[in-house]
């Protein structure tokens, strides 16, 4: 089930245009050993599935497919679990329709 959904989200993101700001992620996850409940929520709540568990069971973020909605900020910033900004001007998702 999980893999099926993962594939589907990637397919969806494939429709979109992005200008990736290589090496300058606009979202950062605070280093941790055991992820907080808020971080675990992001695995499912992020509409672009940018948050994944690594093999050590920690939550990692890959912002390349981010659609810049701010959901993870609302959930994860109050506790300091993530640091959130917009990408630099011109970078990130480039909506054709919006």
């Amino acid at each position: 089930m999980t893999t099926e959904l993962a594939v589907r989200v990637e397919d969806k993101l494939f429709y979109n245009r992005y200008l990736v700001d290589a090496g300058r992620a606009h979202i950062k996850v605070r280093p941790h050993t055991v992820p907080s409940p808020a971080l675990l929520t992001l695995l499912k709540a992020c509409p672009a599935r940018c948050y994944e568990l690594n093999d050590k069971g920690q939550v990692e973020v890959t912002v390349d497919g981010c659609v810049e909605c701010g959901t993870c900020r609302v959930i994860g910033e109050p506790s300091g679990d993530i640091e959130w900004s917009y990408p630099r001007g011109g970078y990130g998702v480039l909506f054709k329709f919006g």
């Binding site: 429709y15 979109n16 499912k44 659609v67 917009y86 001007g89 909506f95 329709f97």
Partner: protein
């Protein structure tokens, strides 16, 4: 970056920012508008419906060259369970008028056009520039903004924060709190392309007529949320949104909801064979009147989604954005005309003018609605749609059961699910919140 000083800096080029920048420039103020996208519109996401009245106040002849999709002649509300929908359907030829009232639009295209009007009016529009923070003096007065450009500080008498629902700058400067999970909905949307004739046949439209379907019920899995289907010329905008707090609580995925909504037997035939060309997501302010933050301060005002100005019940946002942007600009112009400084006290005029407009009046009317729908989400989005669907099926299915017996069964199912107290209580609470 820019040595010169401006009368006003507008942060953001969505509906609110463009309305503000246009109005300020039309009144002869020296305006700088900053936008982080590669062009105005490239970061903006909406369903989207455009309300003509509010745009006419800014650009009376917009119909001549604005990229509009379809004018709406019809509105459908669907209350859905897993296999059916009970619909309320309003269609009128009166909406085929010379100056139609509502249109579907595609935001990236529309906003680009809107921005061209802002430039024509004389504002300086600078894209690909992310504002990183507000520049404040020793007394905390906002005196300009800092951007991600080299030497990126610019100064102005007043900053109009039209930065969108996330309102990052305002939060960073402690002007207001970050949106809370129960005050914002996360909506995901896809653009489904189909031949024009196919859309017209499937939605029963001719020429540039358009229709809107708003859907609520079991599609949101008991969460506070809604689905929507908007007919554009050659594509269908389809999406679903629920409160972030509910996603947090249930562990549902936004794309999972979207896929289920698309596969619903009432929805699937409308988009069958379509080509999807974009997937987007956006937060929508849902907190209503009680979530409106401080709207003005020393050297700043906040407009549109950043001020949480969205009417969740009527699904209106862009018109509140446009109107708040225009009113803020008019207030600034009045202060400027009197040669008064842009102090908190003087800028309170914006709030006064906004209070007198439909924006605040409408939000006040529904001030208790967001909380009611959230607390009662299981009932309003799951239990009642299921009961109503069953009742309708029993009403229309002819199977030899006497009608009085059918009615008794239906009534019993309602009482069993909610109890008499529950039913009357829900009706009372709903009526009170609506009033």
């Amino acid at each position: 970056m820019i040595e010169e000083r401006f009368d006003a800096i507008v942060v953001g080029a969505g509906m609110a920012g463009n309305a503000a920048a246009l109005t300020l420039a039309q009144r002869g103020l020296k305006v700088l508008q900053l936008e982080r996208g590669e062009y105005s519109g490239s970061k903006n996401v909406q369903g989207a419906i455009l309300y003509a009245d509010m745009l006419e106040k800014l650009i009376p002849d917009f119909r001549e060259d604005a990229p509009l999709e379809r004018h709406l002649v019809e509105q459908r509300f669907w209350m859905m369970d897993d296999r059916a929908h009970v619909g309320l359907h309003y269609r009128s030829d009166d909406f085929n008028e010379e100056r139609p009232n509502r249109y579907t639009i595609i935001r990236a295209q529309f906003d680009k056009w809107f921005s061209s009007k802002v430039r024509e009016a004389g504002a300086t529009v600078l894209c690909e520039t992310t504002v990183t923070e507000l520049a404040q003096d020793a007394y905390g007065r906002v005196i300009g903004v800092r951007t991600d450009r080299h030497d990126g500080e610019v100064h102005a008498d007043v900053v109009v924060l039209a930065e969108g629902v996330n309102g990052l700058l305002g939060t960073r400067a402690d002007l207001r709190e970050r949106p809370k999970p129960d005050n914002v909905a996360l909506a995901v949307k896809e653009m489904h392309f189909l031949p024009r004739e196919t859309i017209e046949a499937r939605f029963n439209l001719k020429g540039d007529e358009g229709t809107v379907i708003e859907a609520a019920g079991t599609i949101s899995r008991g969460m506070t949320g809604m689905g929507f289907i908007y007919a554009n010329k050659e594509c269908v905008s389809l999406g679903i949104g629920c409160l972030v707090a509910d996603f947090q609580k249930t562990g549902e995925t936004p794309y999972g909801l979207l896929e289920r909504f698309k596969s619903h037997p009432s929805v699937a035939p409308l988009i069958e064979g379509s080509e999807v060309k974009e997937y987007s997501a956006h937060l929508i302010p849902e907190g209503g009147y009680n979530a409106i933050p401080q709207l003005y301060g020393e050297g700043w005002v906040v407009v549109g989604d950043a001020a949480q100005l969205n009417n969740a019940i009527h699904r209106e946002g862009s018109n509140l954005a446009m109107t708040s942007g225009r009113i803020a600009a008019e207030a600034i112009f009045q202060v400027k005309s009197r040669k008064d400084p842009m102090t908190k006290e003087n800028l309170s005029l914006y709030k006064k003018m906004l209070d007198d407009s439909f924006v605040i009046k409408d939000l006040k009317k529904y001030k208790d609605m967001p909380q009611l729908l959230h607390i009662q989400s299981q009932n309003f989005f799951l239990t009642y749609p299921q009961l109503v669907s069953k009742a309708m099926q029993s009403f229309v299915r002819v199977d030899g059961t006497p009608k009085t017996e059918k009615e008794k069964t239906t009534l019993r199912s309602f009482v069993k699910a909610r109890s008499w107290t529950g039913l009357f209580g829900d009706a009372y609470r709903f009526a009170r919140a609506w009033r």
